[in-house]
């Protein structure tokens, strides 16, 4: 039985009539054509599908869309403020923390959620928080540098 789901995605109200069991990831990608969140494993074990739901890190591949009803979703497409990149996005560019880039949207959104709760994380806290996000190019070293850089920048300019 299809259900009517209302989402606020990247600042826009969206109404979808669909099977409530479908993963949020599928709805974002297939119905809303927001393909920034990626499929990596379908089991919530790799983090490529990470989005923010009411500001919290959420694995959209294991989140039935019904659970996102009336929630606010931020995908990578909605993170920048117009042409102005979020400090975490900018830090990934500045550190060159991109190889194939397929994990990058999930990495960035995970890091955004971390820095929102803990603007000055220790390396151990970053590692612990980010451990659910896999990069198979194994660009972890530069990704860590990017998150450190973003934290420093956020502290400096006090961007939320």
């Amino acid at each position: 039985m299809d259900a009517t789901i209302t989402l606020n995605v990247n600042g826009k109200e969206r109404t979808i009539i669909t099977d409530p069991e479908r993963p949020l990831l599928d709805v974002l990608r297939e119905d809303l054509h927001l393909t920034g969140a990626k499929y990596g494993c379908g089991e919530g074990r790799c983090g490529t599908c990470t989005v923010l739901m009411d500001g919290r890190k959420t694995l959209s591949c294991v989140t039935p869309v019904a659970r996102a009803d009336k929630k606010t979703i931020t995908t990578i497409e909605g993170l920048a403020d117009g042409d102005s990149l979020h400090p975490v996005q900018q830090a990934f560019l500045d550190e060159g923390a991109i190889q194939c880039g397929y994990c990058t949207p999930g990495m960035i959104l995970s890091a955004v959620a971390l820095l929102k709760n803990n603007p000055q994380p220790t390396d151990e806290q970053i590692t612990e928080w980010m451990n659910g996000n896999i990069c198979r190019c194994n660009g972890y070293t530069k990704i860590l540098n990017a998150i450190r850089r973003a934290a420093a920048q956020i502290a400096e300019v006090k961007i939320p």
């Binding site: 099977d19 599928d26 089991e43 790799c46 060159g96 880039g101 397929y102 949207p105 972890y140 070293t141």
Partner: protein
């Protein structure tokens, strides 16, 4: 699964290494292709510039300048290459290559990659070949274009070309200070005419000491699209009216379908079901719906299964089926029998390497669209022209009716030499009469993609009374011959790569067999050093002439402070080193490991690696490649291993197959050596080969236990 989904070459690791075989000439039909390139540039390719000419980019065969690049009237330059970007940096590097020889800034170059309708065939993206083959090919094309443009300016001004120089895309007469830009020249018909000429193989390229665009860190040109989510990977492509497809997979390897009832799925609303022999798939407006339909289909299927060896018995199986005679001839020097007979100490050991999976973050994906008897696919594959040829063969249509496009994709590591999803999507799309996307699940990628070969490696070494190595007998069963030769000076050697019957479909992997061969060789060298009572570094250097390997080995030891660290080894903290060469680059690594005796775990604390691949073209990207190789190497060294039984993969997911994560990342020191008196070699593979043996050697230094398997953890658990 149909037979022709798997090409024979994918089953044979030796042949799945990048083979730059000539492709049959592709003839352009009478149609005119109108193509959009770069910043609104419209190129019309007519019969005059045949696709056949475009197809001959490989193996040093000549293509026209026009097939390689186009000067746009806005001053930008569109450069075309068949190479694929999957994260290792060719997009930046080839952009730099063109900018260097054209004497323009890198941001003036628009690189069009991997679209069979637009680009020359530069061969497969594999084997670290972009740097030594495609970079020079692009540089030759760009240098030729610069010379032609300069000549045209000289003709216009009626001066000798030598009176002119080029900077930032502007040609200047040094005497008269007259200038003209590439963009201005491009407006004339003379340029189009001049660019019809073939790119000569002997055009002069800019020497390393004058590099401006090459040799500096240039970020990936489409980085911003990556961090904003604007870039569309193969699995992100959406076409109007498209469906999502799913394919029925056998429950185990070799199983064949005996009966099936498709009627229930066919009755499902919005679902298209396709059967073609053993191929059964379905498509629906959402992947969720397609998966539901597939489940309905799968419930009705009966299969005939066949016996299949398990991972528990794989090494004895490979050894039993090894083909050591016939065509598998060993390479020899001196007399191995005499060397072993003369030795005062002989060691004989066997090493084992498990099958592993590449697990790129983006599993195989493709979307296929048929229009007017022509097929267009967007697919994640290392070689668009291979996809084009394979699809043309499968659907029995001329190659020019197939267009294969590879959007920058989500990782490969040697694992995407085949484009199965494109064929599957094309079959479904043909039947559905609509575009169909097929996105493999992680479990499908783990099961139906190919694996890095497992190996059994038998080593015998003989030391004379002085502790010098005088005999070396080395046989690799199944993994292949990459880096199998020893770089050490040994009078009597016998080296053999023997094939076997691999029960799993196997193929290329980052550095392929070089990892297995280097693991066994560098571990065994350590065993021989211990037997000779020598320091592992001194023992290697005593047998090593190769100046490049010596340089990186000595540098790594120096940066790591090997002598001091070696003296500080305890039962819980060990240090080890290893070195090697492959694909014309050299590497050495020193590592420190900690042994957790309670958990039976190896924790890598630090990796100090020195790498040299000739003149460095993009330092930041090379650092990324070396870091990536080190961490990827840790996974295969410590944990990654395919487990299988009765033709089923038992760990087809990230819960059972443990790839490196943030918590596994050690302190990494990368030291690059910029050797400018030789040609550049690729750097995305060889840095992986020193990691596993350096770890095994460090574990031995701490514990006295020699682990002769990759991965190592389980073996250690058993022994402690």
């Amino acid at each position: 699964m149909t037979e022709n989904t798997y090409t024979k070459e994918m089953l044979e690791p030796q042949r799945s290494e990048p083979v730059e075989e000539p492709s049959p000439e592709i003839k352009l039909s009478r149609r005119t292709f109108v193509q959009m390139l770069g910043t609104g540039l419209l190129i019309t390719v007519t019969q005059g510039v045949s696709l056949g000419q475009r197809a001959r980019g490989r193996s040093g065969q000549s293509i026209t300048v026009a097939a390689r690049l186009h000067i746009n009237q806005d001053g930008t330059i569109t450069v075309m290459t068949g190479k694929v970007e999957e994260g290792q940096g060719p997009r930046a590097q080839l952009t730099q290559a063109a900018a260097e020889e054209l004497r323009v800034a890198v941001d003036q170059i628009r690189l069009v990659m991997s679209d069979t309708a637009l680009v020359p065939d530069d061969g497969i993206t594999a084997g670290s070949r972009t740097t030594p083959s495609t970079v020079p090919a692009v540089r030759r094309g760009a240098a030729t274009a610069r010379e032609l443009l300069t000549r045209l300016a000289a003709e216009q001004w009626q001066v000798d070309s030598s009176a002119l120089n080029v900077r930032n895309g502007t040609i200047r007469n040094r005497t008269t200070r007259q200038t003209i830009t590439y963009a201005d020249l491009a407006k004339s018909k003379d340029v189009a005419e001049a660019f019809k000429q073939s790119i000569p193989s002997d055009v002069t390229l800019t020497p390393v000491n004058q590099w401006k665009a090459l040799g500096v860190s240039v970020p990936r040109p489409n980085s911003r699209d990556i961090v904003t989510g604007a870039h569309h990977y193969p699995s992100d492509i959406v076409r109007p009216n498209m469906l999502y497809g799913k394919i029925l997979r056998p429950p185990s390897y070799g199983a064949t379908l005996t009966s099936i009832d498709l009627s229930k799925a066919e009755a499902m609303k919005d679902v298209v079901v396709v059967r073609d022999g053993q191929f059964i798939g379905c498509a629906a407006p959402s992947s969720f719906r397609a998966a539901q339909a597939l489940e309905v289909i799968a419930k009705t299927a009966s299969w005939k299964t066949v016996p299949h060896p398990s991972s528990k018995e794989i090494f004895s199986y490979l050894k039993k089926h090894a083909r050591t005679g016939g065509r598998s001839r060993p390479r020899t020097s001196g007399s191995i029998d005499k060397g072993l007979a003369d030795a005062s100490k002989v060691l004989s050991e066997t090493y084992e390497v498990a099958y592993i999976q590449h697990t790129p973050m983006e599993p195989r994906a493709a979307i296929a669209e048929w229009k007017d008897g022509k097929l267009t696919v967007w697919v994640g594959i290392d070689w668009p022209q291979r996809a084009q040829r394979d699809l043309a063969r499968t659907f029995q249509i001329p190659a020019e009716r197939v267009r294969a496009i590879v959007p920058d994709m989500g990782g490969g590591f040697g694992g995407k030499h085949s484009g199965e999803a494109a064929e599957e999507a094309a079959r479904l799309a043909k039947a559905a009469g609509r575009p169909v996307a097929v996105h493999w699940t992680r479990a499908e990628e783990f099961t139906w993609a190919y694996f890095r070969p497992a190996a059994v490696i038998e080593c015998k070494g003989g030391l004379d009374a002085n502790g010098s190595l005088i005999a070396w007998d080395f046989t690799n069963i199944n993994a292949g011959g990459a880096a199998i030769d020893t770089p050490y000076n040994i009078a009597n050697t016998r080296i053999l790569s023997a094939s076997s019957d691999s029960p799993l479909r196997q193929g290329a992997y980052r550095c392929l067999a070089a990892t297995a061969n280097n693991f066994a060789r560098e571990s065994f060298m350590d065993e021989l050093a211990a037997a000779a009572g020598a320091d592992p570094l001194a023992f290697r250097l005593a047998h090593l002439d190769n100046p490049r390997i010596r340089t990186v080995l000595e540098a790594a030891a120096r940066h790591f402070d090997w002598p001091t660290r070696r003296k500080k080894v305890t039962a819980d903290i060990g240090v080890g080193l290893a070195c090697g060469t492959e694909k014309n680059s050299v590497v050495a690594a020193c590592v420190e490991v900690g042994i957790d005796r309670k958990q039976g775990e190896i924790k890598v604390h630090q990796v100090c690696e020195t790498f040299e691949c000739g003149p460095i073209q993009n330092p930041a990207n090379l650092v990324s490649q070396v870091q990536g190789c080190i961490i990827m190497g840790l996974g295969a060294a410590l944990r990654e291993e395919m487990q299988f039984e009765d033709g089923k993969i038992l760990n087809a997911g990230f819960a059972g197959y443990l790839v490196p994560r943030f918590k596994d990342v050690p302190k990494i020191d990368v030291h690059l050596i910029n050797k400018t008196d030789i040609p550049s070699a690729g750097g995305g593979e060889t840095p992986i080969i020193a990691i596993a043996p350096a770890i095994a050697n460090a574990v031995f230094a701490a514990t006295g236990i020699r682990i002769r398997s990759m991965p190592m953890r389980s073996a250690l658990l058993k022994q402690l």
